[in-house]
C-alpha cells in the first residue's frame, strides 16, 4: 500500500523537529531515511506510526486519511535498535504471536511462520528460547515477528545498530531482498550511508529536521542536490576544498594551490565570469596511485591510517585542510609521514557558495 505524506511537519513548543515535507512511500522497495542523530528520522517514524500527531499536514493511504488515527487502529509493525521478544516464548511462538492475536487458523500460522523463518534463516532455531540466541538471532526473530503480521506499514528504526559488524554486513545484504518480496511498505531509518546503499531502494536524506533529497538511492548518492545532501550521504565525510573558477582561462584554482582544467559543464554555464565555489571530492575518489590523464596530486602529512573492513581510511593533513581517502586493501602508513593523494579532475563535484550543485562526475 502506498502512503503519502503531504506537508507533514512537527513542532514541540517552539522547537521545530520536522519542517513541513512531502514524501511518497511505496511497497516493494525499502524506503530508507538517512540522516545523522537529530535529523528527524525517529520523529518521522513516530508520526507515521500514529504515536505522535503532526502539527501540520496529512498522512494519506489509498482513499483514507490516517492523520488523526491512533496507533492501535493502524496496521503498523515496528522494530527498534533493542531486540524485543517475548522471553517466555519459543522463537516459533514469538513469530506466531501477531497471527494468533489476529485469530488465524493453526495451519495458516504454521505455514506463515515456516515461510518467514526460512527467509530470515531461523528454521533450525524455531524451538529455542530467546535467551538461547545470539544478538543477531534475537533481532532476526524480532524482524520475523514484524514481517509475519503483514501490516500495511513496517517501520524500522536503526534495527542493526546494536549488532556486531559481521552480522550487520550479512543482514544488510539480505534485508534489501527480503523487503522487496513483501507487500508491506517498509520504512527503514539509518545513520549509515553504506547501509542505505546496501539496502538499495529509495533514499530520503534528512538533515536537522529538513528533507534534503529523495530518489533512487544510487542516484541520490551520485547526484546530490546540494552540498548539505552530499555531506549527509558520505561516510567517511566528503572532502570539501574552496576553489575559484576563472572563466576567462577556463581554469579551476583550488585554494590549496592546485590548478585544474575546469569541467565543461562549468564553462558552458558560467562563461567568462569568475566565481568562488566549493569542490567536493569523495573519499573513494582519492587514491595512493597516480590516476593518469586528468589526474592531479594533493600533498600532505598522514594523521592516521584507519583500517575498516576491506578498506583503509587515510586521514591526511593538506595545508589547513584535513582530507580523508578511502583506499581498497590494507595499507599501513606511519603517523606524520609524507603522503601524496591522487585524484582525477573528472571525479570532482562542484557546489556554488549557497551549496547548489554546479557539476558532478559522469557515471
Amino acid at each position: 500500500m502506498t502512503f503519502w505524506l503531504k506537508g507533514i511537519g512537527f513542532r514541540r513548543g517552539k522547537e521545530i523537529l520536522l519542517h513541513p515535507l512531502d514524501l511518497e512511500l511505496r511497497p516493494g522497495v525499502p524506503n530508507v531515511l538517512l540522516g545523522a542523530a537529530g535529523a528527524g528520522k525517529t520523529t518521522l517514524l513516530r508520526l507515521m506510526a500514529g504515536l505522535e500527531v503532526p502539527s501540520e499536514g496529512r498522512i494519506l493511504s489509498g482513499a483514507s486519511d490516517l492523520t488523526g488515527v491512533p496507533v492501535r487502529r493502524r496496521s503498523v509493525a515496528m522494530v527498534y535498535q533493542q531486540f524485543i521478544n517475548y522471553p517466555s516464548m519459543t522463537v516459533f511462538e514469538n513469530i506466531a504471536s501477531p497471527l494468533r492475536v489476529a485469530g488465524q487458523g493453526e495451519a495458516r500460522i504454521r505455514e506463515r511462520v515456516r515461510e518467514i523463518a526460512e527467509v530470515l534463516r531461523l528454521t533450525p532455531l524455531l524451538a529455542r528460547m530467546p535467551s538461547e540466541l545470539s544478538g543477531g538471532q534475537q533481532q532476526r526473530t524480532a524482524l520475523a515477528r514484524a514481517l509475519a503480521r503483514e501490516a500495511d506499514l513496517l517501520l524500522l528504526d536503526e534495527p542493526l545498530a546494536n549488532l556486531d559488524y559481521k552480522l550487520r554486513e550479512e543482514l544488510r545484504e539480505e534485508l534489501g531482498q527480503v523487503f522487496a518480496r513483501q507487500r508491506t511498505t517498509v520504512v527503514y531509518a539509518t545513520t549509515e550511508p553504506m547501509e542505505a546503499l546496501q539496502l538499495g531502494g529509495v533514499a530520503t536524506v534528512l538533515d536537522a529536521g529538513r528533507l534534503l533529497q529523495t530518489g533512487e538511492v544510487a542516484q541520490v548518492f551520485s547526484r546530490p542536490s546540494s552540498l548539505a545532501a552530499a555531506r549527509a550521504f558520505s561516510d567517511p565525510p566528503i572532502n570539501v576544498l574552496p576553489a575559484v573558477w576563472r572563466g576567462a582561462s577556463r581554469l579551476l584554482h583550488l585554494a590549496t594551490g592546485t590548478t585544474l582544467p575546469g569541467p565543461h559543464a562549468l564553462a558552458s554555464r558560467l562563461g567568462d565570469q569568475e566565481l568562488s565555489i566549493q569542490v567536493g571530492i569523495r573519499p573513494q575518489q582519492l587514491g595512493l596511485a597516480p590516476k593518469g590523464a586528468g589526474g592531479f596530486a594533493l600533498e600532505g602529512i598522514v594523521e592516521l591510517a584507519e583500517i575498516s573492513g576491506s578498506d583503509t581510511y587515510v586521514h591526511v593533513r593538506h595545508g589547513e585542510h584535513l582530507l580523508v581517502a578511502q583506499v581498497p586493501g590494507v595499507h599501513r602508513l606511519p603517523l606524520e609521514s609524507r603522503c601524496t593523494l591522487h585524484a582525477d579532475a573528472a571525479g570532482l563535484f562542484g557546489f556554488a557558495a549557497d551549496g547548489q550543485p554546479l557539476f558532478a562526475p559522469d557515471r
Partner: protein, 357 residues
C-alpha cells in the same frame, strides 16, 4: 616494559584435563610478544581473548603451561606482583579527585616524589590533550573525558611490564573514535610501552596494532601484521573475519597435481599438495576480475544479484554451485560478465581450514 612469553599455555574452566581440543577455553599456545610492541587480541565474544587477558594480568592461573615476563616465570604470581596496568571498557576514576589527582594517583601510591609525579602526570596530560582540564574535578565530566583520564591512568606508570586495554573505546562517541585511535598510536610511538589491546572490533585491532592475534573458539588461529591477515589469511576464519565482505572460499577438487573448480584448473600462490580432500580456493571479493570469455584461471560465473554501492558494485554470483562475492568497478561489468578471473598471485588453496603454503 617486558617481553612476554607463553610456553604451552592452556586453560579450562572445567575440572580435569579436557579430552578434546574444543573443550579448552584456551587451547595450548606458545608465543612471544616483543618488548615495546603494540599487540591486539581480536575475536568474537567467546573466542578466549578474555581468558588470555586474565592469564596475563594474573586473575586466571592457566591449567597448564608457563608465562614469562622478561624471562621471569610469573605463572603463579598474583596480579599485584605482575606490574600490569589495565584500562577497562568503562571509565574507572575517582570522582572526588581532580583530573590531575587521578593521573598522579597510581604514582603516589607507589611512593613517587610529589614533583616527579606532577611532571609525569603533566606529560601524559599533554599527550592526551588534557592539559587545560588538569585542575577540573573529575565529577561531572562527560564519558569521553572520563575514559581519556582512565587511559591516562593506565599509561602514567613507567615501571609496568605492559598496559592492557580491554575494549577501551566502547563509550567513545563514534565520531571521536578516530582521534583517540590516533592518540593511542602516537602515545605508543612516543612512550614505547608494551601495549595489549583486546577487542572484537577489527577496525580497532587493525588500526592500532603492529601485530594482531586472531582468536576463534579458544584457539589462536593467526598472529601477524594487519597486511598479512588481509592478504594471506592462515585460516579460513581469518579470511572470513577480516575484510568486509570476507574472503570467498570456492570448493575445489584435487587431481592431476592441480586444483580444479569445475573443469578449470586453478593456479594459486600455494605450492604444497593438499593432505585432505576438502579443499577450497580462497580469494577476496576485491581481487576477482570480470571476464567476458573463458581463459586461464577464469571460472564460469552466473550473476545472482548486483548492488550499486555508488563508487563500485557488489556482486553475488554462482560459481560451480558456490555463492561468491565480487567487488567490481561498475554495475556494467557485472551485467556483461560470463567468467571470473582468479589472480594466481592473490589467491591460495585451503585444505579443510588452513592455508597451504
Amino acid at each position: 616494559m617486558a617481553r612476554i612469553e607463553f610456553i604451552d599455555v592452556a586453560h579450562t574452566y572445567a575440572n580435569g584435563t579436557p579430552a578434546a581440543d574444543s573443550d579448552w577455553a584456551l587451547q595450548p599456545m606458545t608465543m612471544t610478544w616483543d618488548d615495546g610492541g603494540a599487540y591486539a587480541l581480536l575475536g568474537p565474544s567467546g573466542c578466549g581473548k578474555s581468558t588470555l587477558l586474565n592469564i596475563i594480568s594474573g586473575l586466571v592461573k592457566p591449567t597448564r603451561g608457563r608465562i614469562l615476563f622478561d624471562g621471569r616465570d610469573v605463572t603463579h604470581a598474583p596480579p599485584e606482583l605482575r606490574n600490569i596496568a589495565q584500562v577497562f571498557q568503562f571509565p574507572v576514576i575517582y570522582d572526588s579527585l581532580s583530573v590531575r589527582g587521578n593521573l598522579e594517583f597510581p604514582l603516589r601510591n607507589r611512593g613517587w616524589k610529589t614533583a616527579e609525579a606532577r611532571r609525569r602526570a603533566e606529560q601524559i596530560a599533554q599527550l592526551l590533550e588534557l592539559t587545560a582540564d588538569l585542575d577540573r574535578p573529575a565529577r561531572g565530566l562527560g564519558a569521553d573525558m572520563k575514559q581519556k583520564i582512565s587511559l591516562g591512568r593506565g599509561l602514567v606508570r613507567t615501571d609496568v611490564a605492559a598496559v592492557l586495554f580491554d575494549e577501551p573505546l566502547t563509550v567513545i562517541d563514534p565520531h571521536l573514535k578516530w582521534l583517540l585511535r590516533r592518540k593511542l598510536k602516537q602515545i605508543h610511538q612516543e612512550l614505547k610501552l608494551s601495549l595489549i589491546y583486546v577487542t572484537h572490533d577489527q577496525t580497532e585491532a587493525m588500526t592500532f596494532a603492529d601485530r594482531v592475534v586472531v582468536m576463534s573458539h579458544g584457539r589462536v588461529v593467526q598472529e601477524a601484521t594487519p597486511e598479512e591477515l588481509f592478504e594471506r589469511p592462515a585460516h579460513r576464519f581469518v579470511g572470513y573475519f577480516i575484510g568486509s565482505p570476507g574472503m570467498n572460499f570456492i570448493p575445489a577438487q584435487w587431481r592431476e597435481g592441480s586444483a580444479w573448480v569445475g573443469d578449470v584448473p586453478i593456479t594459486t600462490q600455494s605450492r604444497a599438495d593438499p593432505d585432505a580432500a576438502d579443499i577450497a580456493v580462497g580469494v577476496r571479493p576485491e581481487r576477482l576480475e570480470a571476464r567476458t570469455a573463458a581463459g586461464p584461471n577464469s571460472v564460469p560465473a552466473r550473476v545472482l544479484a548486483v548492488r550499486d554501492l555508488g563508487t563500485h558494485a557488489m556482486c553475488t554470483l554462482d560459481v560451480d554451485g558456490a555463492r561468491v562475492r565480487a567487488r567490481l568497478p561498475d554495475v556494467a561489468d557485472a551485467a556483461a560478465l560470463t567468467h571470473l578471473f582468479i589472480p594466481p598471485e592473490r589467491s591460495a588453496l585451503y585444505a579443510v581450514e588452513w592455508r597451504l603454503p
